[in-house]
Symmetry: C2
């Protein structure tokens, strides 16, 4: 469940601006502020069913954007590579570390 929540939050970070303001609000209240559907319904003066439908619709749109653009997948790969790079450069930097760092910077360039 936690994994699902962090996945949706990541999708929202990348594609949130492509959603309507209402969709963004409802997702924020549910996933960032941890409000239940009923609490959101009370706060926004709409039915619980409307909240549910909005969340499902917004999640579906986020997944569709990810299928088309793959930004989250690319983010995960680049984030891993940049962490490796930092570890290499912050350790003892010998010739081998430099070669590996060069290789990572080339890979980052290809991934952009």
């Amino acid at each position: 469940m936690l994994e699902k929540i962090s996945h949706i939050i990541l999708l929202k970070d990348f594609y949130g601006p492509l959603l309507t303001e209402k969709q963004q609000n409802v997702l924020n209240l549910h996933y960032e502020d941890d409000l239940s559907f009923t609490e959101i319904a009370d706060e926004m003066n709409i039915s619980r069913q409307a909240v549910y439908d909005t969340v499902k619709k917004a999640e579906s749109l986020l997944e569709q954007y990810e299928q088309k653009l793959g930004l989250v997948q690319r983010f995960r790969i680049m984030d891993g590579r940049i962490n490796e790079l930092s570890s290499l450069l912050e350790g003892e930097v010998d010739q081998q570390a430099i070669s590996q760092a060069v290789e990572i910077s080339r890979e980052l360039s290809r991934l952009l």
Copy 2:
């Protein structure tokens, strides 16, 4: 003019999958294959006006996506930093170069 073309091609690289197949086809024929509106109209069996409208609509959508997500702007910044990083690592790597490379890798991490 060349600058406009390369800007549109870059936008298309990032956001192309969010356009319809027809919009993508028309942009490819115009910007990648360098066909005129009239040539595209002949090839696709539609009017020149329809080609023009499709190109303008597609360009406008691409610009709207960029305004919302800013992927091309981020790409340009990250591309510049990764090039700096490669130059540093492929030159003479002294302590100063390592410090600068660490700084760049931290910045890349923030930009992700």
